[in-house]
Amino acid sequence: MQYLVSVIDDTAGLATPDEEAAIDAFNDRLQAEGHWVFAGGLAAPSTATVIDNRGGEALFTDGPFVESKEYLAGFWVLEAADLDAALKLAAEGSKACNRKVEVRPFL
């Protein structure tokens, strides 16, 4: 079973060196224990472009699809046996990156 762990941020700052070190250590553990699928950090929401090609001609719009105080700063895709296992890992991830996270199952 795979889960998306989204990192929720409400500051403009990138991860500090301490946070980066903690994230690296957490990622190493995820890989060693077989939970790792994929992970990545994202550039600021202001760098996003929205594309709508439902009407035959692709429309490009500058900026994120929703403006909000909190935004997606990065994510993990984890392999876990069940929600309890995923929640435990996500709690450690939240501590490592020093941000709130959200867990959502893949279909």
Binding site: M1, A81, L83, D84, P105, L107
Partner: protein, 413 residues
């Protein structure tokens, strides 16, 4: 068997067997939706057949077998409709059935799943009452004064989340157990409190059905986890509060405070049982097991229910227990209750000073204003007392409490 006799027997079997049937089916089919629906169908079949044919020798076994057949029928129907051959077993449960015995009881898995921390508190209460206690959606809606559709939706959404997010159907590991048991107890205490201090203008001030249900479920958890001190503590607490239920509201529907209750009207059997449980935990505490909040609250209620009359209350013992509780949980609500004991020991002036310090956190909590009003009244500050009663009445939701506070306010000179 008479129809009335069969009806009573079915109600009894429903109380004893509902959770067991749902739990067994949830285990077998790995799907709470199927388990709930099939259990409901099996009980409907029992209501139809038992009055004429009499109870089967093993009602629980009959219900489980009938429900299992209903569930298989439903899965076959759905597979046919979907045009696919699907495994009937949808379980994502890698744990073999536990050994027979308390911890292996299927109902525990059900309770822990319904009270999972990833579900909202409202969803936990609704799911537990539906799947474990066997209340209907209509009964739950009536109990919490919400629309039936809202309760139905809450339960449906919670079941969908359990399935999609794969909330495991199991008893948590030893390491997680204390925190998870505490989550279950919170749900049970919420149900009890809603019965004990029912909110809303149209309801009875005390909902005995809800307090009884909460006690029944807590007894079940205690039977399943007899060594857990907080489970025992919560059961003792509920019993000692329940024992005073009939003495707590006057015939005209007004709340009677503890100090003015007719103690002869208290339920002596419930008090004896509650005291026995408190003694059991006191023995554990003497052996070095630190008591949790429910055990301390139960001990406080044991002190109150031991006193022959209100004047005989051992307030220094009550205060010592509140001190112990405050160290465990430094919440303003506990500080407020502690102040009531202080009023009895050191007088209302000292207590009022302690209560006033809580204003910034408790300004929206009606017991804060009711306590202040009472202390101000005892100090002869009628005007301030009246304002505090007004505020308490405005914030209170229980009809008996509002009636009591109103009379007190109107008696001020």
């Amino acid at each position: 068997m008479s129809v009335a006799g069969a009806g009573a027997a079915i109600t009894r079997v429903h109380q004893q067997e509902w959770a067991r049937v749902v739990a067994a089916l949830a285990r077998r089919f790995g799907d709470l939706d199927i388990a709930e629906e099939a259990a409901a169908e099996a009980f409907a079949a029992a209501v139809e057949r038992w009055p004429a044919g009499g109870l089967p020798p093993n009602p629980g076994g009959w219900l489980t077998t009938t429900a299992t057949r209903k569930a298989i029928d439903r899965i076959r129907r759905e597979n046919k409709r979907a045009g696919i051959q699907k495994e009937a077993l949808l379980v994502h449960d890698d744990h073999p059935p536990g050994p027979p015995g308390v911890i292996g009881d299927e109902r525990l898995r059900l309770i822990f799943t319904c009270c999972h921390p990833a579900l909202s508190s409202q969803a936990r209460v609704a799911l537990t009452l539906r799947l474990v206690a066997g209340l209907t959606v209509a009964e739950i809606a009536r109990a919490f004064l919400v629309q039936e559709a809202a309760v139905g939706q809450r339960i449906t959404r919670a079941k969908a989340k359990i399935k999609a997010a794969r909330i495991p159907y199991r008893v948590p590991s030893t390491e997680d157990l204390p925190a998870r048991v505490s989550g279950v107890l919170t749900v049970l205490f919420l149900v009890f409190n809603e019965g004990y201090l029912a909110t809303g203008p149209g309801t009875d001030p005390v909902r005995a059905d809800l307090t009884a249900e909460a006690i029944r479920l807590t007894r079940l958890i205690r039977a399943l986890l007899p060594g857990d001190g907080e489970v025992t503590g919560l059961l003792a607490l509920m019993l000692l509060i329940e024992a005073r239920r009939t003495a707590r509201v006057s015939p005209s529907g007004e709340l009677i405070p503890l100090g003015e209750q007719d103690r002869a009207a208290w339920d002596a059997a419930l008090i004896a049982e509650g005291h026995q449980l408190v003694r059991e935990r006191l023995a554990a505490a003497a052996a070095g097991v630190a008591p949790g909040r429910y055990q301390i609250l139960a001990a406080i209620n044991a002190v109150h229910t031991t006193a022959r009359d209100a004047r005989a209350t051992d307030w220094s013992q009550v205060l010592a227990l509140y001190d112990q509780l405050a160290r465990l949980d430094p919440s303003p609500i506990i500080a407020l209750n502690r102040a009531i004991a202080i009023a009895e020991l050191d007088g209302p002036q000292v207590a009022l000073a302690a209560v006033d310090r809580l204003e910034h956190t408790l300004a929206g909590y009606h017991p804060y204003h009711a306590t202040r009003a009472d202390l101000l009244r005892r100090l002869g500050h009628s005007q301030e007392s009246r304002a505090a009663y007004d505020k308490a009445i405005e914030l209170a939701g229980n009809t008996a409490e509002i009636a009591y506070l109103t009379r007190r306010r109107d008696q001020l000179r």
